[in-house]
């Protein structure tokens, strides 16, 4: 079931942008991820699904190079530009920083003076405009909706003109409409030219039906790669149980797999009985 060579274009394999080879990472005295083989190719859109604490974020950080491999290796194509969008939870929303300052901080400071040049200001305005954040340059990051906050950090990543965009739980804690909005933006970025930018995207999520089932390639992950392929290949009871440690049912609806937790009927019955008594 390990079809890591399968990419969204489907044909001849171009050289991978990022390749994890028997990768293991250790934090303190515990191994967090172990023996991971995973490659990301140009133009791919990969979703990594797994429960909390399964090492998804660690895998992303290893791919970014901010965590060292204890075994195996991560190889990035030479000259590759990778941008990272952190989980919104990790952001300090009380920090005194405006939307413009967040986007601008990732640009290298070319002269001794830190202010933005006019071309830089224009580049920032353009990215913000494109993500629907026009006119918010002076806003404090707390004075935004959840979807806008997510897009500010996306803008900071995009202004670095990345080849690969890595996002940690981009839809955690945001509502359904916002989730759609973010997914559409990502799909635009992923789409090849002339419409899109052809940026390869890797994201983590634990939202199986709302997000994962829509992606071209999914990786079930729990400490290591359990399955890798299209949603219909990967979203199967056997793999899901091994990934999430709980039995799950998979239904088909309009050609798309829908994952249900087993035993949810029983739980509902118990709770409704409680309500009635």
């Amino acid at each position: 079931m390990k079809s890591s060579a399968l990419n969204s274009s489907g044909n001849a394999f171009p050289a991978p942008l990022i390749a994890c080879d028997h990768l293991s990472c250790t934090y303190g005295n515990g191994t967090v991820i172990e023996g991971v083989d995973l490659s990301v190719h140009p133009g791919e859109f990969v979703g990594i699904v797994g429960p909390s604490g399964s090492g998804k974020t660690t895998l992303l950080k290893a791919m970014l190079g901010s965590i060292k491999a204890s075994h195996g290796s991560v190889t990035r194509a030479s000259g590759l530009s990778v941008a990272y969008v952190p989980q919104l939870e990790t952001v300090d929303w009380n920090f005194p920083v405006t939307v413009g300052e967040v986007v601008g901080m990732s640009r290298p400071q070319k002269s001794w003076w830190p202010g933005s040049s006019s071309s830089e200001r224009q580049a920032i305005e353009e990215v913000l405009e494109r993500l629907g954040l026009g006119g918010l340059v002076q806003r404090h990051i707390r004075e935004l909706s959840g979807g806008q906050q997510q897009r500010v950090f996306l803008a900071r990543a995009l202004i670095q003109k990345p080849d690969v965009l890595i996002l940690d739980e981009p839809t955690a804690g945001i509502d359904v409409t916002t989730r759609h909005e973010i997914l559409h933006v990502l799909a635009d970025l992923n789409e090849g030219p002339p419409q899109g930018d052809g940026i390869a995207i890797v994201l983590t999520t634990h939202d199986l039906n709302g997000l994962a089932a829509h992606l071209p390639r999914l990786v079930c992950f729990n400490r290591t790669v359990i399955a890798d392929g299209t949603p219909s290949e990967v979203l199967q009871p056997y793999f899901l149980e091994r990934t999430f440690g709980a039995p799950m049912e998979v239904l088909q609806h309009g050609g798309m797999p829908i994952v249900l937790e087993q035993g949810s009927d029983e739980l509902r019955l118990r709770l409704s009985r409680k309500g009635a008594s």
């Binding site: 950080k61 990790t90 009380n94 400071q109 001794w112 830190p114 002076q138 909706s145 959840g146 900071r156």
Partner: protein, 290 residues
């Protein structure tokens, strides 16, 4: 007419003019470095370092060494020891700071009790003594001030990125440990040169007050970075001037002046912010919880 002459009178004394200048400069410097102290949660480190410096200063006075040499080396050694103890992880960094710097402070107190009569300069380090300022102190504060401005301006984006979002900054090619080291060096140097002016017991307040007041007044990092030194300079200058009339140690008046401004701003901004947050509710999208 007599009143106006009276207000001008302290300026006729050279030691007062020197004191006013150094208090203003020290306030501005502490205001600038204080932005990072506040945003990075380093105020306890600042507090600890000033106490460690006191031990070094006392030792230097007893041994007849230069203050900057003794206190500087001692502060450096304490910083390294804190890093070493904290890296063991079993003991948290805050506890490590507590043990090492308080021990250093206790040593300073013991030396002061034993040799205090002869060594008045130890007393100056404890409570600050603006009026006993030498040209050397003035030059030291000005030097560290210029260095800090140059470093903060030229490394502005990296310092901001590493402070706001160290994880992503590291991934984006910013040397985060390097930025942390730069800020530690600037903080140590700031404490070293201003502690004799403000006093060990009050310096951490001057590192925090201008920055938190500026934070209440702006939501922009760039604006906070110039607003905080301006406020620090005002606190220092006004506090120094008032202390002449109040006949109270200048360090105490400087901190009280800063606290008063902070309270006024806090109250005023509190009212305005509540209005703004309430106004936002009309637009629908909820504010994320912290």
């Amino acid at each position: 007419m007599i009143f106006a002459v009276d207000l001008w009178k302290p300026f006729t004394y050279e030691f007062f003019r020197n004191g006013l200048l150094i208090a203003t400069l020290a306030g501005a410097l502490c205001g600038l470095i204080g932005v990072f102290v506040v945003l990075r949660g380093m105020s306890y480190i600042g507090h600890g370092l000033s106490h460690a410096v006191f031990g070094g200063a006392a030792l230097a006075a007893v041994l007849n060494l230069s203050y900057f040499l003794g206190a500087g080396l001692w502060g450096l050694a304490s910083g390294l020891m804190i890093g070493r103890v904290a890296r063991k992880r079993i003991i948290g960094a805050d506890a490590a700071i507590g043990v090492i710097t308080t021990a250093s402070f206790a040593m300073g107190l013991a030396l002061q009790a034993r040799f205090g009569q002869a060594k008045q300069s130890i007393d100056a380090v404890l409570f600050g003594n603006v009026l006993g300022v030498f040209t050397g102190d003035l030059l030291a504060v000005a030097g560290v001030g210029i260095l800090s401005v140059v470093v903060v301006v030229t490394l502005y984006r990296k310092l901001l990125f590493a402070t706001f979002d160290p994880e992503v900054a590291g991934v984006s090619g910013v040397n985060v440990p390097g930025m942390e080291a730069v800020l530690m060096v600037l903080l140590s140097a700031t404490i070293l040169v201003t502690v004799r002016v403000i006093g060990v017991l009050l310096i951490s307040a001057l590192l925090v007050l201008p920055a938190v007041t500026a934070r209440l007044l702006t939501n922009s990092f760039g604006r906070m970075l110039w607003l905080s030194p301006v406020l620090g300079a005002i606190f220092g200058g006004v506090g120094m001037y008032v202390s002449w009339y109040a006949d109270v140690p200048s360090g105490a008046v400087i901190i009280l002046a800063g606290t008063l401004v902070f309270i006024v701003v806090y109250t005023a901004v509190g009212v305005r912010r509540r209005g703004r947050v309430a106004g936002m509710d009309h637009h629908g999208p909820s504010l994320r919880a912290a």
